[in-house]
């Protein structure tokens, strides 16, 4: 079920939220669990079995880890990791691995044939040509974080299966995060007042939650989906497009992916907030970052912090020799790329970001020496603006690989953008997208978004407040009307669902 569908907005969300507050507190977890199952099964019902497997394994592993000491403790953790990564390996990476092995063997003149995943039907239980279970990487990582935290003794093992299942399946963040930690979400689910989940109806919190949802819908419907139509023109057959169209499509994609993903996150955070749950903040206006490392502190924070805590630090982090540090960083970003999708485009995207960071670290001393006393100026004013622009362009460049269907397509895009002769051999198709004038309308809304994003982001997070009631009404009405009039209402899926 998509957040931007009539089914969710008019039926699921009001019904579940209404029942949540009407039910006795000790039944609320069950309602949320059933609602989450319904939500997930609205996509492909059978895939809930995969989720059930992950939940079952990690629930048992958590208790077993908590009860044991020494090598057995570690063995249970390893078993949990193998089970989770195994699920990912089968459902997400099997075809990727298979395809690469086939190519490798073919290169050596050997024959290799193992059926692709979509050819499997599991004795008729699954439809042929099945797709990747939605949000697999998200809930697998969330579940994994639980067993790791129990192993590290930062978290007590959950004894109630239903509550643990709800921790993994909590519908607002089930399919595209934020990737929660047990210390945050599981503890909130366990925070009872003796009768059940503690949250009472709080008018202020409900209004704040709804506002955050509205901001999320604005980002998705008005910015992301409008940009998507233009991006698709550029990237469907990049070789047939002129360089200018591809450059514009790439810039639009930067906004599409940000608004699509952070829009989803805002709707998720808002929906959870209405019911009294605080989920992790996942974005902090990332395109205002003045460096790549700052960008990663503001973009998909729940994933970056997951990799930091469970991969980067265990690898040694920065408390090792310099070359190891750089290697650790690079590995983390390669894995992060692979986490997004089983395609060399994502690996290249991750590698590119890893390279940016490593190069920035390598040249940092030189940079400090040359900038000298102007160091302060870099953080403010024109210097910072230049850094923000440079960071945005580097990030946008990397997005080319993220969006392209194949690495070869990405190189076609790059070649055509940087080869001025291609700028005149097309018809600037993106500017003439249907309906005529929609390109300029999209440019306009993107520019407006760039201006209002910091303020609106702070408003929905409660970091700033509008003092005048009329300003509040104007802000909400403006967003609502923009969603209605300028938004695209085809209920398009969210990009990060595929991960």
């Amino acid at each position: 079920m998509l957040f931007n569908s009539a089914e969710f907005c008019l039926l699921f969300f009001p019904l579940v939220t209404g029942l949540y507050f009407l039910l006795p507190k000790n039944w609320r977890w069950l309602l949320l669990l059933l609602a989450s199952c319904w939500f997930y099964m609205a996509f492909v019902p059978l895939f809930i079995l995969i989720l059930a497997f992950t939940i079952g394994v990690d629930f048992v592993a958590g208790i077993a880890i908590a009860r044991s000491e020494g090598p057995r403790r570690k063995a249970y953790l390893v078993a949990s990791i193998i089970a989770n990564v195994g699920v990912l390996a089968v459902f997400k990476y099997w075809d990727f691995l298979n395809g690469n092995l086939t190519a490798l063997f073919a290169g050596m003149g050997l024959e290799y044939h193992v059926p692709k995943l979509h050819e499997w039907t599991f004795f008729g239980f699954l439809p042929a040509g099945m797709v990747l279970p939605i949000g697999l990487s998200f809930h697998t990582f969330q579940s994994l974080s639980y067993t790791i935290e129990v192993y590290r003794k930062h978290q007590q093992a959950e004894r109630r299966f239903g509550v643990f299942a709800l921790y993994v399946m909590f519908y607002p963040q089930l399919v595209a995060g934020p990737i929660e930690r047990p210390g945050n979400l599981l503890n909130q689910l366990n925070a009872t007042d003796g009768h059940g989940i503690r949250s009472d109806f709080d008018h202020h919190r409900v209004v704040q939650g709804l506002k955050q949802m509205l901001w999320g819908f604005f980002k998705k419907l008005v910015i992301a989906d409008r940009c998507a139509a233009l991006v698709d023109i550029g990237y469907t057959h990049p070789a047939a497009q002129d360089g200018g169209s591809l450059l514009l499509a790439t810039l639009f994609f930067a906004f599409q992916i940000y608004c699509d993903f952070s829009g989803y996150t805002d709707i998720a955070l808002g929906a959870a907030r209405v019911m009294g749950f605080n989920l992790m903040v996942n974005f902090r206006t990332p395109y205002r970052s003045a460096s790549i490392s700052e960008f990663w502190g503001r973009w998909h924070i729940s994933l970056s912090s997951w990799f930091r805590d469970y991969l980067y630090i265990p690898l040694g982090g920065n408390r090792v020799a310099k070359w190891r540090w750089y290697t650790n960083l690079f590995i983390v970003f390669l894995v992060s790329g692979l986490w997004h999708g089983a395609n060399w485009t994502y690996v290249t995207w991750g590698g590119l970001h890893g390279s940016y960071l490593v190069l920035a670290l390598m040249f940092a001393p030189l940079w400090k020496r040359t900038s000298g006393a102007s160091g302060r100026a870099e953080q403010h004013g024109f210097g910072r603006a230049l850094n923000v622009l440079a960071t945005f362009l580097l990030v946008a460049f990397a997005w080319i690989f993220f969006r392209a269907s194949h690495v070869a397509d990405a190189f076609t895009v790059i070649h055509r953008i940087f080869d001025p002769s291609t700028w005149t051999d097309g018809s600037w198709g993106i500017v003439h997208a249907d309906p005529p004038g929609s390109f300029f309308l999209t440019v306009f809304v993107v520019l407006v978004f760039v201006i209002i994003d910091p303020l609106c982001d702070a408003l929905v997070k409660g970091e700033r407040h509008l003092t005048a009631f009329s300003a509040e009404v104007a802000w909400i009405s403006g967003l609502l009307l923009a969603c209605l009039f300028i938004g695209r209402h085809g209920a398009t899926t969210f990009i990060y669902f595929q991960f």
Binding site: V473, S477, F485
Partner: protein, 334 residues
């Protein structure tokens, strides 16, 4: 504030903004001199009724063809009702194509031209019509009603209005709307002379030419419909809407008649039940394949659902004769 804005936006939108060529026809219909006869309907009026031929057969007055492609009830009824509400001189005679209420398939919901005009009253009428539709299983009726609610909601909330307005502006084509003679008629063959690369029309014509027996099949199907008495009853919602329109026209001194054009009767059983339920003389039936076999001959057809130039001339003459018939009682409309 949102509600107020929505009201303001709706009130500022020009009439029939969602189908700009229909809006052009609306404006042309108001231009002096006001025509004596106006025709309203879908492509079966727009492509088949040639005003100059009707005028020459009748020998007096001017006819304007306000039909347009894919314009079905309740859009046609809305057009007529708005016209009848105008505090100004009206055509003396109005002919409206009789066809079924357009019911919403999923595909209709994608295109605003099918629902842009829906307000609470039209929407509610559609829902009631869908719920009490004769000859349809309950699940179908519920599905139609649900989609009618969705379509009305989309219209009232102005979903995607900006893009729809942009698309509407780009679609405007006066020649296409009013035809070469400026009287609103444009046969399909004339259209192809202006737009020789119209792939949709070319494909439909090619499909028909590859299987001209389709004409015969259609005639047989329609004959069967006429011979088989309707068992499912009539849509009372539709019937009451038509009688209300007849009353409204009568009160404005306008002679209103409904026309059943040839070749195409979608959900024909319902439509023929309606023909029988309407007052005598309120319907001009030019559809019966035994009375009008010329409309079912391949040489007079453009595609399986429309007449070509020659067929349109024949249809226009028959329509004019029916209007000019000595037995025609202008007071049929109660």
């Amino acid at each position: 504030m949102c509600a107020a804005t929505l009201c303001i936006v709706h009130s500022t939108l020009p009439p029939f903004w969602g189908v700009p060529n229909l809006a052009i026809k609306w404006d042309a219909l108001h231009r002096d001199p006001i025509p004596q006869r106006a025709l309203i309907g879908s492509s079966r009026i727009y492509r088949q009724a040639i005003p100059s031929i009707i005028d020459s057969v009748i020998g007096q007055g001017r006819t304007f063809n306000a039909g347009y492609a894919a314009t079905f009830p309740p859009a046609t009824y809305e057009f007529l009702e708005q016209l009848l509400r105008e505090e100004r001189q009206l055509p003396e005679e109005i002919l409206v194509e009789l066809s079924n209420y357009m019911l919403f398939e999923e595909a209709n919901l994608e295109d605003h031209r099918y629902w842009y005009y829906l307000g609470p009253r039209e929407g509610w009428g559609l829902v009631r019509h869908a719920l009490f539709l004769p000859n349809q299983p309950r699940t179908e009726r519920l599905g139609f009603a649900a989609r009618a609610v969705r379509a009305t909601t989309c219209s009232l909330l102005g979903l995607g209005l900006a893009d729809h307005l942009l698309a509407a502006t780009a679609d405007t084509d006066t020649l296409l709307a009013l035809g070469p003679a400026g009287d609103g008629g444009l046969t399909l063959e004339t259209l192809l002379r202006y737009r020789p690369d119209d792939e949709g029309q070319l494909a439909r014509r090619a499909t028909f030419r590859a299987d001209t027996l389709a004409a015969q099949r259609r005639a047989v199907g329609l004959r069967h419909l006429y011979e088989r008495p309707s068992t499912g009853g009539v849509s009372l919602v539709h019937l009451s809407r038509l009688t209300a329109l007849l009353d409204m026209a009568h009160s404005r001194g306008v002679r209103l008649r409904f026309v059943l054009p040839p070749l195409w009767i979608d959900r024909g059983e319902d439509l023929l039940a309606l023909v029988h339920a309407l007052p005598d003389g309120a319907v001009i039936d030019l559809c019966h394949p035994d009375s009008f076999p010329q409309f079912y001959r391949p040489e007079n057809m453009f595609d399986a659902g429309h007449l070509n130039d020659r067929g349109a001339r024949l249809f226009s003459m028959e329509l004019a004769r029916a209007l000019h018939a000595p037995g025609h009682n202008p007071e049929f409309a109660r």
